[in-house]
């Protein structure tokens, strides 16, 4: 709808013609978007704290930083965009904290056998991933959320968890991903089945 439409709707006033009104609308829209960007950046402030803690406790600063920045970027975009993806930010990050905390703790615990010592990072990431997947599935099912919620929450949970799971390289992240998949898929299938039933009825 352009300026002509504004005029036809009788919105233009003697002091503001249709073109000026259209210009005002554009400028107001810009203000709206900028405000949302500001909110999104403030909304991701807790993740900055999580990233700093992960960097100080973790052992692979490079990968932790990379995944942390990716989490911040994805989270900020989702918060700015709004709607379903915005609602997925908190559950996604909260679910991702489980593998993150488990892996950071496991990093400091060693298991020694006849073949040498190894950290518990991989099992911690896999177990944390399963818990995170179950948590996302539970929230998604309870909210009867759409596909964008599932995708957004899952990606944020994996990115958050990956800040810690990169402790043994990308195999840790793979473990997290597989665990997450194992946790989230049953819930996702249940959601799809209930949706099909609702459509049939």
């Amino acid at each position: 709808m352009g300026s002509t439409d504004s005029a036809s709707l009788g919105l233009a006033s003697p002091s503001l013609n249709a073109a000026e009104l259209a210009r005002l609308e554009r400028s107001v829209r810009k203000g709206y978007e900028l405000r949302r960007v500001r909110y999104a950046l403030w909304g991701m402030a807790p993740v900055v704290v999580i990233l700093v803690v992960a960097l100080s406790v973790g052992q692979r600063a490079g990968s932790t930083l990379a995944f942390g920045l990716a989490t911040l970027a994805v989270g900020a975009v989702l918060l700015w965009y709004g709607r379903d993806p915005q609602k997925a930010v908190l559950p996604g990050v909260a679910a991702g904290l489980v593998p993150l905390v488990l892996s950071l703790c496991a990093n400091h615990v060693h298991m020694c056998g006849p073949e040498g010592c190894s950290t518990l990072c991989m099992p911690a990431c896999a177990v944390g991933g399963v818990v995170a997947g179950l948590a996302v599935a539970r929230v998604g099912n309870r909210r009867k959320a759409g596909v964008w919620f599932w995708l957004s929450a899952s990606s944020l949970a994996i990115l958050t968890g990956a800040m810690g799971c990169a402790c043994i390289g990308y195999s840790g992240v793979m473990g997290l991903g597989l665990g997450f998949g194992a946790g989230v898929v049953p819930g996702l299938l249940r959601r799809l089945r209930s949706r099909e039933k609702a459509l049939d009825a």
Binding site: L11, S13, L16, V28, R29, Y81, G82
Partner: protein, 175 residues
């Protein structure tokens, strides 16, 4: 609050959640009342237009803060009224005087000037109140559904009027 999906309340709620498809509709629904409000407060087309434009910026910038449980129009009007008050303050700071041309002087013009002064005084008093009080009184003025109803609304309105009266008395020494 109404459940009509095309109502301003519903559209504002969608915009607050980030649904940009309703932005233009909200803009169009709010612009008219905001401009009318500013025109009735400021009695000067240029000032009213400036205040209304500034108010539209404030209202839609804060759209993401909009509380879905409250009616949208009084919320928007409260922000617009605040902008009008700011504009009035600016005007008085500039010491702008809108002198009545001698050929237009008469009882009608005097009445209009008197009304303008009363509106200005009321607006200043309104600006001293809390946001809830302002919203309640503006909802009453615009005959809009408020965020509460029944006895709570009556009580809230009564208290808001009392506070407005007390503020007016404090500022101008008269009821």
């Amino acid at each position: 609050m109404t459940n009509d999906p095309s109502s301003l309340d519903a559209l504002m709620a969608r915009l607050a959640e980030g649904d940009r498809t309703v932005f233009r509709q909200v803009f169009q629904l709010v612009w008219g009342p905001v401009l009318r409000l500013c025109a009735s407060y400021l009695h000067n087309e240029a000032d009213a237009s400036d205040a209304a434009q500034e108010a539209m910026h404030k209202i839609l910038e804060r759209a993401s803060d909009y509380d879905k449980t409250r009616p949208a129009l009084p919320w928007a009007m409260a922000l617009a009224a605040w902008e009008c008050r700011t504009q009035l303050r600016k005007r008085s700071r500039r010491r702008e005087s809108y002198e009545v041309p001698s050929d237009q002087a008469g009882p009608d013009v005097e009445q209009a000037l008197l009304e303008r002064d009363v509106v200005r005084a009321a607006l200043s008093a309104l600006g001293e109140l809390s946001e809830t009080d302002r919203e309640t009184l503006l909802a009453t003025f615009w005959d809009e559904a408020a965020s509460v109803s029944g006895a709570t609304l009556r009580k809230r309105r009564e208290r808001a009027f009392e506070r407005l009266r007390a503020t007016f008395r404090r500022l101008y020494g008269v009821d």
